[in-house]
């Protein structure tokens, strides 16, 4: 158990960049993260509506190897965000510059591969607390510093970030108004990525792994109705590689009657081109609940 001491006032935020986009502002900030014990950056898009009133917040979790830059430059979401009046926050995918041995060895573990868990194993457990960062520290920081309506929050992501979005929503019933994902890792305990990451961060006790597995979480999900939208490129190599395993998740949702619309998009792959194609649908999906 950790105690988090936060300043009552504003936490120190350093604006790194700001660009006007679709009449709103795409900014990047840096701050000292308490959970991760390092400096962290995040991208934040403020729609024009945010100048005058509080807006809902939509959190985007990026996938393996991404930083806060990939989404804000490649996804092309700013127009939809501007139209629907949503503040979109895109954090980094892992702590950076922590000088942990082995953090840069693989692209799918360590740096850029936080897997949105709170690690329990050394040497990761000090810094690799992305779950708490995303669900606790970052929202607090955002709420304190930006015109955000703290009651209206949603989450989505891609690949590892899709996995992150799903588990954050499933582990916190009622916290998020809606959730969606692009090519998420639905069943990490059964796929190579997941096994590698969980054994590294959480050890060998598979029961601890299930706490971060969307398919497992759904089976015991007690909470209010979620409306989950998942887009999956049919030509996604990782799908064929068995890294994503959406069928397991769908089966579990069907069983538990959790509403999911899963779209297998013909010809699309795992890239940001795929994300860019359907990002508007996802933003609209969230806007329906955030702006209701």
């Amino acid at each position: 158990m950790r105690l988090i001491f936060t300043n009552k006032g504003r936490m120190a935020l350093k604006e790194i960049s700001s660009n006007k986009c679709f009449e709103g502002l795409q900014k990047v900030f840096e701050h000292d993260s308490v959970e991760l014990s390092c400096k962290m950056k995040f991208g934040i898009y403020l729609p024009p509506k945010a100048e005058t009133e509080k807006c809902p917040a939509l959190y985007w979790l990026s996938g393996l190897t991404c930083t806060e830059q990939n989404f804000i430059s490649k996804a092309g979401y700013q127009q939809a965000a501007s139209e629907h009046g949503l503040i979109i926050i895109a954090p980094d995918t892992s702590p950076r510059g922590c000088s942990i041995k082995g953090e840069d060895e693989s692209w799918d573990f360590g740096t850029g591969a936080g897997f949105y868990v709170d690690a329990t194993e050394d040497p990761w457990k000090t810094n690799y607390r992305m779950y708490s960062y995303v669900t606790e520290e970052l929202p607090r920081l955002i709420n304190a510093n930006f015109p955000v309506d703290p009651q209206r929050m949603s989450i989505f992501g891609h690949s590892m970030g899709g996995h992150g979005a799903l588990i954050c929503a499933l582990k916190n019933p009622g916290k998020y108004k809606s959730v969606s994902a692009f090519a998420p890792i639905c069943n990490p305990v059964l796929c190579p990525w997941g096994k590698k990451a969980f054994s590294g961060y959480l050890g060998t006790d598979q029961s601890k792994w299930k706490a971060y597995d969307a398919t497992h979480l759904v089976k015991s999900y007690p909470g209010s109705q979620l409306d989950i939208l998942i887009d999956q490129g049919k030509d996604d190599q990782f799908l064929t590689d068995g890294q994503l395993l959406p069928d397991n998740f769908i089966a579990a949702c069907t069983e538990k009657k959790v509403p999911v619309v899963f779209r297998l998009q013909e010809g699309y792959d795992h890239s940001y081109y795929f994300i860019a194609t359907f990002i508007t649908d996802h933003i609209r999906h969230h806007a329906k609940y955030l702006n209701a």
Partner: protein, 731 residues
Amino acid sequence: MDGKAAGAPPDFHFYPLDLYDPEDRLHPFPEGATRTGREVYAEMAEEASDPGSVALGKAPRALEEEVDELVHLYALGGAGEWGSELADGSAPCTEVPEHLPLGAQRDWQRGPEAGERGCVGWGATGPGLRETYRCAHGRAIEEYECYVIPEEEDEDEAALVFCVTCRAPVRALEVSDEHREHEVTALDKALESAKDEVHKNMFKLEKQILEMENFANHLEEVFITVEENFGRQEQNFESHYNEILETLAQKYEEKIQALGEKKKAKLEALYGQLVSCGENLDTCKELMETIEEMCHEEKVDFIKDAVAMADRLGKFLNTDTDVEITTQPDFEDQTLDFSDVEQLMCSLHALPAPSAPVINPQAPNSATGSSVRVCWSLYSDDTVESYQLSYRPVRDSAPGKDQAVFTMTVKETYCSVTNLVPNTQYEFWVTAQNRAGSSPTSERAVYMTAPSPPIIKSKEIQSCEEAALICWESGNLNPVDSYTVELTQVETPEASGVTESVVGIPACESLVQLQRRQSYTMSVRAHNMGGPSARSDPVTVHTTGSRFPLNQHTCHPWLTVADDGFTVVRSERKTPLKEPLPGNTRFSRCVAVMGNLIPVRGRHYWEVEVDEQANYTVGVAFDDVPKEEDLGANRLSWCMRHRFASSRHEYEFLHNKTTPDIRITVSPRKIGILLDYENSKLSFFNVDISQHLYTFSCQLHGFVHPCFSLEKPGRLRIRNGIAMPTHVAFY
């Protein structure tokens, strides 16, 4: 006693009710008659101002005197009765006119008691005021003044009720004694009923005034008519008599002329005779002379001449000499023939037969479905007693055929002819009659009855949030000229809204622009030459959501639509299918039916309730979608198809035989369908959980219609006329 009651006639009965409240009560008595009353007032005033004092300090004796006076004043029985009663201390008689102050009664009642108590506290003011009145006693009437003394305290005193039987107010206490058997009501009620009566009388008087005024107007009119009639008769007589005079003069001339000619003839005849006589004379004379000459001649010549002469004489004397006067000097008696004059005289009383009336053309909008109002006019000089109006229906068939002619007699120059057939032309002609006979018939005019009202096909109304399409049956066998649609917004039950009309509609349907989220009452009229029909039975249209009926002509034979018009059932039984004809409107391959969606480009939303395990297809299609193909198998249809097999739900979103790969974990039981012409989209939703399922992008150049099919026996229920839910609005 009587002398003192100055001014009051012996049978002075007062109307027992008072129109004024006690406070406003004025002395209703004539000036001089209330001396004693005033005294009593004075006493009362003293009492009112000095409640502590015992009111009447005067001796009972004086009170008795006053009472006696009052009794005589109001003709209340024997002079002594009152006094004796009062002395006994019992209640006074009921017949006390109400205008007496209550205090007065009270005084009488209390008088003796007061008197018994003795002269206590008559009051400093008392003697003075009393003196004033006492001095007034015996003076001339004109010097009396009228005082109004408020009686505020009366209301607090014993309650007053009204005895209906005695028609007088009485104290409540007295009811138990004298008025035990009588009917008693509260004073207020009595007051009200009296006021009512007075008002009624006023109403009657007003009515009377109106009637009299009307009568006066009427009399004036009759005056004028008499003048007119006189004028007409005068003219009539003048012309007739002139005619007669002319005829007489003419006859006179004729006769005289005839007579003159006769005279001339006679004279000529006579003259002729005279001339021949003269000639005869001359000849005789000539012969005489010749004979005489002859006698003087020689014998031989004489014998020759004498023989010749004898011949001549013989001839001459043989000639008849007509000495008869052929001409009678007398003239025949002329019989004067005045028969035609007599006839003329008689016809003075007989009017000429009237001339043919002029029948008017049909006034617009004067006809109903079963009647027309025929009007005609006459020459103003004619006197007409009645008219004969005849008519028969105009038919295209051979004119030789006998058709029933109806005739009726009317006195006015118009007639409403009833019991006619709607939307039919009738020929009318009219003749005028009076004692002299009938006029020639007028020209024939054709009148037309208005059409029967149309019948709106209420089950086939199509509507959306901006418009409604209604169609109707003409209601008439023959064509009409046009239709009018009338619509009113139904706002509140009491308010009647403005009625809009769409006129000049040539066909039996109309697309009307409306406002959103309102209710309208619409009805239709048919028009022809005769005017408009009665309104059709109205229908109510709600501009909430989109409403469409199912098109039975497209229904596959194995599908039935229930009576509610919105439940589509595919039963287990299968009737054998016939080979479809070309141009068939029914689905022949997929067991489907289409709706008729209003052809308005906007957003339309409807819902379908399905069984979770049913195999169904729902979506939209163009009118001309090939009916021998499955829905979604061509470019003219877009739909969502659900199949349930091996405990698995499969969903397809079909267009042109292609579908995206979509998996849905929660099977919808109610599907919402949004058709958006503006954004060229067709979206499907799970209504119960507000979940968006799929959206087609579809280029819709024309109008599409909802379509529904059941791949296996089952049912689905369509719901429309629903406002779009908010979650749908995001798409």
